[in-house]
């Protein structure tokens, strides 16, 4: 096999549970396993530790503990924030929602569902760098706007949106503002109160907690209908016996992820820039997404004449785990809606590569990526009829 190294460069997809998180969780499986609703000490301790985790999560994003509700994932948080607000506001006759064209499907498919339920949705475009103009949000706000939901940072191209400006515009117009911050938490400083965010979705497994735990921040004063009816857990908003180990793990993960953001970002940004600059020396490539207003660990490059799934499979053969916006990786005919929305042609969007790195990526790893990707690109281009036509100066459309 050609694998000389194993490099996990898909941290935007998921991350490994860290040692600290795993150790924090372990007692809750076999010794501190009480049901947090039970009256005896074992139960009370579980309750106490859930509340400690809640404090940690709240503190990490500048919220009060009472504003944090644990969910099972980022998608659940998004669904609840959007559908819950829609249900609540429809009672006041407000049936208009504003979102963007580059949201995660957890948001887009939710707003599409609401459209079928009679809601109107405005999809704010992005510029060729993948950024939203806050003024477009202002212009889209109407008397009957129930909610603005705009992602904090994009999962594919890493662009960080002007959240403060959008939040301010929403506040000015007395419209609720939700943000899907699944990709941003732990990588960007967030202070929900200072920033004027009404609701924020986050997920554990992107920041070294386990899969299956997330949270929704709901600002005091914002009322959402209960998501799960049943017992009194999570202030009756989301019933069901708490997943104590996962919640404790999320608390630890948030505490760690949000403790030294600037320091980590500086390290990761340097590695990222080396990779971006290195990959852009390959002919017929382009960087997708704004170079500056971008998550520290996100790299998204398009390779003309190459199809993304082949690129991923071959990189895997060399031990590199990455991701793509190609149609083949999504199971649909169309390539990524995000890449199309920044103006990429279909055939170029098919050939995109996303690497999402963290500070543990070594300089040798970076070297290996920069040695391997050109080899793989050459190999695939050598067998690509699209590339052949490009080199002959013919059109392949």
């Amino acid at each position: 096999m050609e694998r000389k190294r194993f490099i996990y460069a898909d941290n935007a997809a998921t991350t490994a549970v860290s040692d600290e998180v795993l150790s924090a969780m372990m007692p809750y499986f076999r010794t501190a396993y009480g049901n947090a609703s039970s009256i005896y000490e074992l139960g009370r301790n579980a309750q106490r530790d859930i509340e400690i985790a809640r404090e940690k999560v709240a503190k990490a994003i500048g919220a009060d503990p009472i504003e944090i509700i644990f969910t099972s994932c980022g998608s659940e948080s998004d669904n609840w924030a959007i559908k819950g607000t829609a249900e609540q506001m429809a009672k006041k006759g407000k049936k208009h929602i504003i979102t963007s064209v580059i949201e995660h499907h957890a948001v887009l498919h939710t707003t599409e569902y609401l459209e079928k339920q009679g809601f109107e949705v405005t999809y704010i475009p992005v510029d060729d760098k993948g950024l939203i103009n806050p003024e477009d949000v202002r212009k889209a706000i109407r008397e009957d706007t129930a909610l603005v939901t705009i992602m904090y940072a994009n999962n594919e191209i890493g662009t960080i949106q002007p959240i403060d400006e959008i939040a301010a515009i929403c506040k000015e117009n007395k419209v609720l503002f939700h943000t899907d911050a699944v990709q941003a938490v732990g990588h960007v400083e967030i202070d929900v109160h200072k920033q004027g965010i009404d609701m924020l979705s986050l997920s554990g497994h992107k920041i070294h907690a386990q899969k299956g735990i997330g949270a929704l921040y709901i600002r005091k004063g914002v009322v959402l209908p209960s998501l799960i009816h049943g017992g009194g857990q999570e202030r009756r908003k989301r019933a069901g016996t708490e997943n104590v180990p996962a919640i404790v793990g999320l608390g630890t993960a948030m505490e760690i992820a949000c403790s030294n953001i600037a320091e980590k970002a500086a390290i990761v940004t340097e590695k990222r820039n080396r990779i971006i600059d290195g990959l852009l020396t390959i002919p017929y490539t382009r960087l997708n997404g704004d170079r500056e207003k971008r998550l520290p660990g996100n790299i998204n490059i398009s390779f003309e004449g190459i199809e993304g799934e082949s690129l991923l499979l071959m990189l895997d053969m060399f031990g590199i785990c990455a991701s793509s916006g190609s149609a083949c990786t999504s199971g649909s005919l169309d390539p990524s809606h995000v890449l199309l929305s920044i103006g990429l042609k279909h055939e170029i969007a098919h050939g995109s590569l996303r690497l999402s790195i963290e500070e543990n990526l070594t300089d040798e790893d970076v070297d290996y990526i920069l040695e391997t990707v050109p080899v793989v690109a050459d190999r695939l281009r050598a067998m690509s009829p699209v590339w052949e036509k490009m080199m002959k100066g013919e059109s392949y459309e």
Binding site: A327, C328, V386
Partner: protein, 138 residues
């Protein structure tokens, strides 16, 4: 989504990649917009396919089906090559994920498209022999 070992083998070590100079038939199918293009080159001697090569822009399954299709028609008569079905390509690869079946149809049609070109070059109307070339819908 799982690829069989055979698919991965034909992706990692594709057989018959490249071009044939002075090919007797060249077929191209698919479009870059959809993310799959196959180009097939055939060398034909006395009604026998003596060599087949391909170039493919596409996913792992597109590469593997092109590779397998060229293997299946090499050394065969034109008549046999025209009988090549996408099912035979899928079977030879130990199956394909449902969303990738269209790649096997592309491979089948790329072969037909190259044979069609062969007849055209011979001054023979390919339509009655090869039939229409279909581009699969996904």
């Amino acid at each position: 989504m799982m690829y069989s070992e055979k698919v991965m083998d034909h992706f990692a070590n594709p057989r018959n990649v490249g071009e044939i100079e002075n090919a007797d038939g060249i077929g191209e199918i698919g479009n870059a917009k959809c993310g799959d293009i196959m180009k097939m080159y055939l060398k034909i001697d006395n009604g026998t396919i003596t060599d087949a090569k391909f170039k493919t822009f596409g996913c792992g399954a597109a590469v593997a089906t092109s590779s397998m299709a060229t293997e299946l028609i090499k050394g065969k008569s034109i008549e046999d090559a025209l009988k090549l079905t996408n099912d035979a390509v899928v079977e030879a690869l130990d199956g394909l994920p449902a969303v990738k079946i269209h790649c096997s149809v592309l491979a089948e049609q790329a072969v037909r498209s190259a044979l069609s070109d062969y007849y055209t070059r011979q001054g023979i109307d390919p339509l009655p022999i090869v039939g229409e070339i279909h581009i699969p819908e996904e």
